[in-house]
Amino acid sequence: MTPATTTVPGVMRTSSVAPGTRLDPESQELLQALTGSGRAYDDACARLHELLLRAARFEVTRRARSLKGAEADAIATEAADDALLAVLRRLDDFRGLSKLTTWAYKFALYEAAVKVRRHAWRDRELPVEPDTLASLHGGVPGPEEDVEMRERLGTIAAAIDEVLTPHQRRVLVALAVNGVPIDVLAERLSTTRGALYKTLHDARAKLRVQLEETS
């Protein structure tokens, strides 16, 4: 009974959009062209690339204002190219739960954001850990009202030493204390954002338990 214009007639065999899912007309048209062939497919890819480039430029402009025009443009173009490949490779995963443009944008934003973060750190060594962890214990004596806070930080620092594995400690300190972007750390440690965040999450959970037990 659903009118053909609001469902996905021809593409169900090649996409994961559930039968009967209501797609907006723009998404439907683009998805159909992208799962087709020939001239329509080529045109759709060009249109998709334009959308991705817009999103990538949006991200690079927001996050890297200090970048020179040519450099910013090179990063945005590279991000859009990578995102186009990712989108086409993963088109089957699009379930029609958002607009197709929103789904595609996230790939471009992700690629651009990762490149901007890595670019900003390309010539920087990762901070050496012990020096920076020491700042938690005391560092510069603060005014009177900071005493309680200093104590709390000291307790956390002690918990870090007591309950975390060396890897958990290294990841926590880099990300939470030294402000190393997670994608930069992932690149240097040859791992992924997801795996690092899992380590961070486990470390945080251990700290919370330890703090509860010692309070």
Binding site: A55, F58, E59, R62, R63, L97, S98, K99, T101, T102, W103, Y105, K106, L109, Y110, A113, R117, L136, G142, P143, E145, D146, M149, R150, R152, L153, I156, I160, L172, L175, A176, V177, P181, I182, D183, R193, G194, Y197, K198, L200, H201, R204, L207, R208, L211
Partner: protein, 78 residues
Amino acid sequence: MEDRDNELIGRLLGPAGPEIGCDACFEELDRYVDLEAAGKDADAAVPGLRAHLEGCPACREEHESLLALVREDQGPAS
């Protein structure tokens, strides 16, 4: 000084509630943002994503950008 310390403690201990991971966040981000942009209850639809954004600066930035971009597409609210 106190604000800075509070932020540091927040980064060290992360969000209190249950949260999803970065991969799940990426998978759900478009649906979450479209719901937000439509004024719907995105947190009910994707539990744990908001908490993840609190704990993960990278995903948080990408969420901010996606929402801003989608809102730009929507044009000025009428």
